[in-house]
């Protein structure tokens, strides 16, 4: 099975949402600011629940926030 990476548009969506800070987003979804930072840097893959919560904050479907990229 090939490995993949989950990328996202969280940083872009944050700025589009009235320049929301990482801390504000973290408070809304119930995680630490460091986790949001790790998510934006694609250093951490969120759980399904967290991914849905983040998508809900931006009022976007989850597929517009997170992208799966398969690597060889």
């Amino acid at each position: 099975m090939s490995k993949g990476q989950i990328n996202n548009q969280i940083r872009k969506l944050r700025f589009m949402q009235g320049e929301m800070t990482q801390a504000e987003l973290a408070d809304k979804v119930g995680v630490t600011r460091q986790t949001i930072n790790a998510l934006e840097a694609s250093k951490y893959s969120p759980s399904l629940e967290l991914a849905f919560k983040i998508a809900d904050v931006f009022s976007k479907p989850i597929s517009e926030v997170f992208f799966y990229q398969a690597t060889e």
């Binding site: 119930g30 995680v31 986790t35 951490y44």
Partner: protein, 149 residues
């Protein structure tokens, strides 16, 4: 900036390292091959001990100010820490049990050549292994906080 759990991992690592250092010095004494550095090492580990204690106290006292103490990423990293610490502890205990069985088999005369030939030595090693597994857990957690997923 480090998260609360990452800071706690560092302070706990420092605390465990200093406890192990002082316990080994207390039980086995300072090695004769490096006598000139005993004061320096003692001062360093004493400072590490007090700093770690202070950090854990501050973190504990300021807990009420944080909205999220531990999130899913912290729990995932802690699970990795538990996994490797448990593996280390299991292997160590099996090795100790093997030594005890060998000691019983060889009797008092043969046991003097074993590392764990006496009951007191077994207790000391068990204590050290306990703190060493905590060190393994914290190192694993710090590694995962720092590396890319």
């Amino acid at each position: 900036m480090m998260s609360r759990q990452e800071i706690l991992s560092w302070s706990s690592l420092g605390f465990s390292l200093s406890v192990v250092f002082f316990y080994i010095i207390f039980v086995f004494g300072w090695p004769e091959i490096i006598p000139d550095y005993s004061d320096r090492f003692t001062k360093v580990f004493l400072n590490v001990f007090w700093i770690a204690l202070a950090v854990e106290l501050i973190i504990g006292l300021t807990e009420h100010k944080s909205k999220v103490l531990k999130d899913e990423r912290d729990e995932k990293i802690e699970a990795y820490g538990h996994k490797y610490a448990y593996t280390f502890l299991s292997v160590s205990i099996v090795a100790i049990l093997f030594q005890i069985m060998l000691s019983n088999f060889l009797g008092p005369e043969g046991s003097q050549y074993l590392l764990l030939g006496s009951t007191s030595m077994i207790i000391h090693v068990l204590f050290i292994v306990l703190f060493a597994s905590s060190i393994v857990k914290r190192i694993t957690m710090i590694y995962h906080y720092k590396k890319e997923w």
